[in-house]
Structure formats: C-alpha cells, structure tokens
C-alpha cells in the first residue's frame, strides 16, 4: 500500500475538473430543457389567445361590452355575461376563501393528529379531483331546491365556492406549513395564545400562499360551465341583476343575489353552437375577454401578494 495510490483516479485534479464540467453541462442542459418546456406552454397559451383575438377582432368595441345578447351577431354583446360572471366570482371568493382558510387553519394549527383528521385530510384532497358536474348536481338539489335559492347568482356563487374549496384548503395548508416553527415557538415563548400566534404571525406570513390558492381556485371557477348550466344558468337574458349600490340608506343591496343570470362560458358555448357562422367571431371575442378577466384577477392577486411579502421581515 503506497501513499501515491491513495490519491487514485477520483481525486486526480484533472479527473475532478472533468467530472465537474460534465455535471455543469448537465445542469445547463436541464435549465435549457426546462426553459423550452415552459416557453412551449406559454407559446400554446399565446397562440390560443392571439388566435381568439384575431378571430374576434371585428367584435371588439365598446358596444360589445354594453350590449345584451341578440339574434344578430353584430349587435350581440356580453353585458349580462360579464356582469353575471363578476358577481358570481365575488360571491365565490367571499364564501370559499374565509371558509377554506378557516378549515386549513383548523387542520394545521388546532386539530389533533388522529384518525379522524386523517380521514378529513384524505377527503379534502380527494374532493379536489371530483368532476365539476357532480358539484353542479349536488348544488341543484341542495342550494336550488332545498335552500330554495332558485336559479340565482347566490346559488351559482355557492356552487363554485364548493368547487374551489378543496383547492383553497390545500394551498392554504401548504402556506401555513411553510411558516417556520421557530416563529410559533418564539411567540408562544412570549405568552401568546394559540389564536394570537395564528392571527398575528402564521396568517400574515402565509398570505402569499393563500392568495396563490385563491388565484388557482378562482381561475378554475371563472371558466366552469357544467355546474352552472346544471343549476340553471340562462342562455338569453337582456336585463341586469339589481344594482349592489343604492342611492338611499343603507346604500348597499343584496337583491342581486336572487336574480337570474348568465355567465361568460355559457354565452360562449351558446355562440359556438349557433348555425350562423358570424357568431363564431362573437364567441372568439368573448373567449379573449374571459382570458383577459382571468389575467386581470390574477394580476390584482399577485399585486396584493407582493404588497404582503414586502411587509414580512424575519
């Protein structure tokens, strides 16, 4: 056993350098492959979006936003549809986010780890994979007939809230788990109660992740057609829900929750299946606008998330 053989091939500087550069090359290759895959996804979205914009170009005008549906393609607009979709999204967000966040907080911070919570956890994850039409059927029986909400914006908003609840819960749990335990321990050490720890530390620090879950959920909800057709969204409606704002006290009204509605995906579906080919342009334009609405909603959420993240200084 001689001393020189100890520095055998794997410690030979030349060999090490070779191995290092090969692994660096692999690293580079992976980055490039990843970039290509991501760009491919973006390109598909871009092609889709540009195609919709080109097909619908003749319809983009102010009138398209302020006109109701019509049998004449050039006169038909999306007023009822975009107002309906916006109001439904408000109901959905206001119902799904508080309930989902509360459920996630309970599961992460309060619930004891036993078989019961294990069953809940498995079910919540499974619920995220249930086909949306099933939620539609459930909502038809529960909200529309049992709770007597009828074919209303409230029923549609609650249905979509149910649909995205599992997504919100799962995302919020991930966000809460990402808060370092040291933060909790420090707060407990100073005598904070569990609720104070959650309210003042865990929640503010996980807001970014919660908002991400909200974005994912609402983006799914805004394009859903099946469940709201099931509960009875209309195909032709030429009036708006009651305004949420009133000129006299108390200045706010909830009458619109009861009103019949239509939504963007339904309006699009209706136009696509029309005999008159001129309606295809309307459908394309509505599709582009729906994508735009989703992007706008996500943009707002990302901006809020950015604001929250800036406040965190560990």
């Amino acid at each position: 056993m001689s001393g020189t053989s100890m520095t055998a091939p794997y410690l030979d500087p030349k060999h090490v350098r070779e191995g290092l550069s090969r692994r660096k090359l692999l690293d580079q290759v992976f980055v490039i492959v990843g970039l290509i895959v991501m760009l491919a996804c973006l390109a598909i979205l871009a092609v889709l979006f540009i195609d919709l914009v080109i097909d619908g170009s003749e319809r983009f005008s102010w009138d398209f936003f302020t006109n109701f549906a019509s049998r004449r393609a050039e006169r038909a607009g999306i007023l009822a549809a975009w107002v309906g979709t916006s109001l439904i999204m408000i109901v959905t967000a206001l119902c799904a986010v508080p309930v989902g966040v509360a459920a996630a907080i309970y599961l992460e911070e309060y619930a004891p780890k036993n078989w019961f919570t294990a069953i809940i956890e498995i079910n919540v994850t499974n619920l995220a994979g249930v086909p949306s039409i099933v939620y539609g059927l459930l909502a038809l029986g529960l909200f529309v007939y049992q709770f007597n909400l009828g074919q209303s914006i409230a029923a549609a908003g609650l249905t979509l809230a149910l649909l995205i609840l599992p997504i919100v819960i799962v995302a919020t749990r991930e966000a809460i788990r990402a808060v370092p335990n040291a933060i909790r321990e420090a707060a407990y050490g100073l005598g904070a109660t569990r609720w104070e720890v959650t309210k003042d530390h865990v929640l503010p620090y996980s807001t970014g992740g919660i908002l991400t879950g909200m974005i994912l959920g609402l983006s799914r909800a805004i394009g859903e057609t099946a469940p709201i057709i099931t509960i009875g969204a209309l195909s032709f409606i030429a009036f708006l829900p009651e305004s949420p704002f009133k000129s006299e006290f108390p200045f706010i009204s909830f009458g619109w929750l009861d009103d019949p509605f239509t939504a963007m995906p339904i309006q699009m579906f209706n136009w696509v299946s029309r005999p008159d080919p001129a309606f295809q342009a309307n459908a394309a334009a509505a599709g582009a606008i729906l994508l735009g609405m989703t992007l706008l909603m996500n943009g707002v959420a990302i901006w809020i998330r950015y604001r929250f993240r800036k406040k965190i200084n560990w």
Partner: protein, 334 residues
Amino acid sequence: MKLRQLCYVSAAFLALVSAASPKAARAEETVKIDGSSTVFPIAEAVAEEFQLSKRGGVRVTVGISGTGGGFKRFCRGEVDISNASRPILKEEMAACREAGVKYIELPIAFDALTVVVNPKNTWVKSLTIEDLRKIWEPSAQGRITRWNQVRPEWPAAPLVLFGPGADSGTFDYFTEAVNGKSKASRGDFAASEDDNVIVKGIEGNPNALGYFGYAYYFENKERVRAVPIVNSAGQAVMPSLAAVSDGSYEPLSRPLFIYVSEAAAQRAPVRELIEFFLTEGPALAQEVGHVPLPKTAYRLALQHFKDGKLGTVFGGVPEVGVTIDELLVREGKL
C-alpha cells in the same frame, strides 16, 4: 391586518346568502322560458323584440335545458313557457298532471331535418326513405360501409357518416321517421351535440353524409349540399321554405312547439308575449332559419290560446309526418 373585520364581514355575508330566499315580488314581471335548443333561436328573437317593444317594462329569460329538461322544470311550475322540438310525452304529461300544471300546446314553426353531403359528391341526386334506412338502421352497423352498398350505381367510395348525439330531439325524430323507432340507429357514426361540428365534418370529406336541422343548412349553403328526399307521393323534394310549408317536404319536417302553463297565461305579460309570439313570430322564425307555419295556422293557434284550449293533441306518443292543419283541428288531452 384587519382580520377581525374581515371575519365579521364574511360571517354576515354568509348569513345573508343563506337567508336569502327567492322573492316573489319581481316574479310577476319576469316571463321565464326554457327548453329545446332547436326552438331557442326563435324564442330568443321573440324575447329580444318583445322586450324592446315594452321598453324594459317586462323581463324575459330564455334557458336551454333541452326539450326533456324543459318539461321537467315546466311541470314543477318553475317556468312559464316550455320550448319543445317534439310533443309532450306520456311520462311528462303524468308529471304535469300530478303537479296540477295545465298547459296550452301551440305549434310555432317547422323544422326540416336536412340530409347533406359534400358539394364534391356528384352521384347522390336524391334519397328515398328506404335508402336512408339502409344507411342508418341499427343492423347497418359495420356492414354498410361503402356508397355502392346503398345503390349499386354509386361508387365504391367509403361512406362516412355524421349525425347529432343521442340526447338531441333531432336524433329522436330522424330515427323515428327513418327507422320507425325513436333512438334506433347504427352507432358507428361521428356523433356531435354541436351541429357545427357536423357541418365541418361533411365539408371536409367528399364521401360524407349527415343530417341536422334546416337552420344549420340555411346558414351553410355554400359549404354543404342538401339532398332532395323522395316523399310519399314519389317526388324528390329539396328542403326549402316553400316545400316545408306546403307539406311536400315529408316525412323529415316536424312542427316545433311552445307549451304555456295555464296559470302563467293568466298574467298579462305572459299573455302579451304569446300574442306577440304568434303575430311577430313567423317573420322572426324565418330570420333565424326556421320555416314559419301557414298564416291560418297562427291565427288558429292564437284563437286556441285565447279560448284556453288545454292539453296536447298527440296523446303522449311521437308521430311522424303529421300535417299542421290536422294538428290544429284535433282535440287536446291533458
């Protein structure tokens, strides 16, 4: 972090949402229509014009639940008017009877099922019902796959078939008229609930054959070619406004209906809407690609509505090739 306020607001909101129950107050001035997607364009056009003429005084909503779905809601009393591309069936009559919903059946237009081929297809000059049965009967599945198997003088080109899906009233009526039994059809054809898909499929294949409602042919005349159908008098007749309304395009033309609930017909807005439907409807139906009934038929239907003539004249069984004059003199059953 205004978490506490947020919690209060959302709790209050949830309470409000769950406490909200439909208010009857505004139901008075809203007329609710639902049902068949074939009738939808006519109902939509009528609703649009009616609301314009009322300057927003009356609100009309039109949904698409399909003929069957529409009747379900109609017999629960949820809608005032049900659009139907076929007459009400026995089970639906029973459901309405049980719920105490009485109705007036009004024919409002014709639909002509149109058999179409690719414009490059030069060999098909006309089709008889026997030809169609040979192509579409259930036993043709996997067996009749070339054009020359239908008629020997036609080329040995593959026969590519397109048609509406099994949930469609068009499918029901076509199979009833051609194969003698509703929903009895071969299954190896490209089925789509969206008739525009059928138009595209036939446009793209010179050996294709398919069928759909007249409105889709009317809007796509330069993309597909309609085939004249030999009627019971032995004449090959092209589907057209004239041929459908004079009754010579048979047996593939069928009447479309609206059903008005008797209770709803007591309300002034519903009454006015129906009168508008039966007077302005013919022109609007034609505009959206359907064939209006003869003028006398609308006059009679309006008379029936004003007299409150209840029930269906079909007795709950589907019929093929019934003429509109025949329909309007029959007695109704609930």
